[in-house]
């Protein structure tokens, strides 16, 4: 603690400093603009902040090593850089969405934009956290901003309820996580995550560790909407304002996965302790647990989604299902799996933001996202429906969209592991294979509900509807996102450039 804070400590945090300044600038600017212009001005500042931050990250990305600024409470490695780049870019696109549509009503947008910036800031720090307290802090920043944002739509019952539900479940699990962390601190006597996890890996009493770690990951499992903690997801997605839903689905989810990495990577912790608890049973018990969670999540979500008729709720269940697929890749702690997961976040993010953008346009016109309002859209807005089709194809995972590459990479990472283990431990290997089979079957089931909006928009006849007003800006952004979705089927564009 004798070290002073040097320039080198602050440099990797420059994007966060920019984000903080951005928050202040937005609040200030909001003060000076009228209510009418507030949305565009604040969102524009938000975009500028995020683009600046992303630019700084790209500049810093070249040639660096792992840094531990501020006497090791943060860890800044390549993974952190790439994830922060993703968060800021995704956030920027969400600000573009706010500029294009108006879901919050005639209110001043300063708070909303600064809250989104705050949440992104929380996400960035979370992915760099190396200290238990910083971890909790960042998690809370992300969460609290999200709770408020979920209920940000004034005089709207759905939004209030969504915010309340999200808060109650979230705060509960965060409190459990904090309690678990207190035990981690107690057992390892250090607040440093890397060191404490390594110490715990060599700890004797397995039973205590199981409880502690389950408690600690409660918040993460909840936020990822892993079954059986997924009940909040469709409600919150449906009730929140659409840009916030997009934010939750894309940035929040990726941030929490990154947080899970940070906790588990320093040691193959679960495998070891579970082995200790159950004696002679192999340490693959952790993997089986992950399989169970992932398999149940995928299947439950896909089957529940089949009955949905509200677009946002549909995408809520789809978020749960995708969390299941991502968790599957998580059971393979190998660098290729991490890269494929990062690619998957990107692809999933693009498709989700695109789909939510179109949903936002529909809500602007009809006031609700029920699928019955989408009839006849194929005839009046063909470009919109083509973009929607590409996004939904990406979510299903069909060629020629990037979603296929994402799923392909994910499954190949798991298949890698499966066949490697198959000849050593055939039960585990076969479970891996069965789970891949389950995942692809789930993709097929998901086809039925993802194709529903398209079916309603294109195949069903309706009384002539007037054309949905879509601004040129929205069209342009949607086309860019759709083209990206098609181009990224060549996953080399991303994977080859990620050097972990």
């Amino acid at each position: 603690m004798n070290e002073s804070i040097s320039y080198l400590d602050l440099l990797p945090l420059a994007p966060e400093i920019v984000a903080t300044c951005g928050i202040m600038v937005v609040l200030f600017a909001d003060f000076f603009t009228s209510t009418k212009n507030s949305r565009l001005v604040c969102a524009a500042f938000g975009v500028i902040t995020n683009v600046l931050a992303a630019g700084i990250i790209t500049a810093l990305l070249v040639g660096h090593s792992v840094l531990y600024p501020f006497s090791e409470i943060l860890i800044v490695d390549a993974f952190a850089f790439y994830m922060r780049l993703f968060f800021y870019s995704a956030s920027a696109v969400i600000f573009l969405l706010i500029m294009a549509t108006n879901e919050f009503g005639p209110v001043k947008h300063g708070e909303i934009v600064s809250l989104i910036l705050g949440a992104t800031l929380g996400a960035s720090i979370l992915v760099m956290a190396n200290n238990l307290l910083i971890y909790i802090f960042a998690l809370e920043t992300l969460s609290i901003c999200s709770y408020v944002l979920a209920s940000a739509k004034k005089f709207n019952r759905a939004s209030a309820e969504a915010g309340m539900k999200y808060f109650l479940y979230g705060a509960l699990t965060t409190a459990m996580t904090v309690y678990g962390f207190s035990y981690i601190y107690g057992l390892s006597k250090t607040l440093n995550i890397e060191r404490s996890m390594e110490l715990l890996a060599n700890y004797d009493s397995g039973a205590l560790l199981v409880v502690v770690l389950l408690l600690s990951t409660a918040a993460i499992l909840f936020k990822l909407a892993i079954a059986p903690f997924h009940f909040w997801c469709p409600d919150v997605y449906q009730g929140s304002p659409t840009p916030i839903t997009a934010f939750l689905a894309v940035v929040s989810k990726a941030a929490i996965f990154a947080a899970l990495f940070r906790l588990l990577l320093p040691a193959s912790l679960f495998m070891f302790i579970l082995g200790k608890v159950y004696g002679q049973v192999s340490s693959e018990l952790f993997v089986y647990l992950l399989f169970l969670l992932a398999g149940v999540t995928m299947t439950l979500a896909n089957i529940s989604a089949l009955k949905q008729n509200d677009f946002k709720r549909l995408l809520g269940y789809s978020a749960i299902a995708h969390a299941g697929y991502m968790l599957l890749a998580f059971s393979v702690l190998h660098v290729m799996a991490i890269k494929s997961l990062m690619f998957y976040f990107l692809v999933y993010g693009i498709a989700n933001i695109g789909a939510f953008w179109i949903c936002s346009l529909m809500i602007a016109r009809y006031g609700h996202a029920h699928l019955s309002a989408w009839r006849g859209l194929g005839k009046t807005n063909p470009t919109l429906v083509i973009c929607l089709f590409i996004f939904l194809l990406s979510l299903i995972g069909l060629p020629p969209t990037a979603g296929f590459s994402g799923k392909f990479l994910l499954f190949s990472a798991v298949m890698n592991q499966a066949l490697a283990i198959l000849y050593k431990d055939s039960v585990l290997g076969i479970s891996y294979l069965l789970l891949i089979l389950l995942a692809v079957l789930n993709s097929v089931i998901s086809l039925v509900y993802y194709i529903k909006p398209i079916k309603v928009a294109v195949l069903e006849e309706s009384d002539p509807v007037e054309k949905l007003p879509v601004s040129k800006f929205s069209s342009a952004c949607l086309i860019v996102l759709a083209v990206l979705s098609l181009l990224l089927i060549d996953f080399d564009l991303v994977i080859a450039n990620i050097k972990l």
Partner: protein, 119 residues
């Protein structure tokens, strides 16, 4: 009345006057009470009380572990306490804001009444 002798006769002796495990047990009791409050109550403010209880149980844990490991970690205990208490306060403020919004929309803070979004 010699309480100390009474306690010793009842069998609750410890080598130290109050050991680490006492604090942990108290914290655990607080945590369970908080958890129960969260899960069993319908009033949103009651749930918030439960969350606060859980967080404070964690603070107690941090302080106890710090104290009984000779103060390693450079003030980790008090640091955790302050951070967590600030966080809890912030969370409570946000919570109340959200509940106020809820009340405005539903005229009650009963969480079971706010269930429009089912299905």
């Amino acid at each position: 009345m010699n309480f100390e002798r009474m306690i010793t006769e009842l069998g609750f002796t410890t080598t130290a006057p109050v050991g680490l495990h006492s604090y942990l047990v108290v914290a655990a009791i607080l945590f369970s009470m908080g958890l129960a409050s969260c899960l069993l109550r319908k009033n949103a403010i009651g749930i918030l009380i439960g969350i606060e209880l859980m967080l404070n149980a964690a603070v107690l844990n941090f302080m106890a572990f710090w104290r009984f490991s000779g103060g390693v970690g450079g003030g980790a205990g008090p640091m955790a306490a302050i951070v967590l208490m600030v966080m809890a306060a912030g969370e409570a403020a946000i919570a109340l804001a959200i509940f106020l919004n809820l009340f405005y929309n539903f005229t009650s803070v009963d969480v079971e009444q706010a269930s429009n979004l089912e299905g």
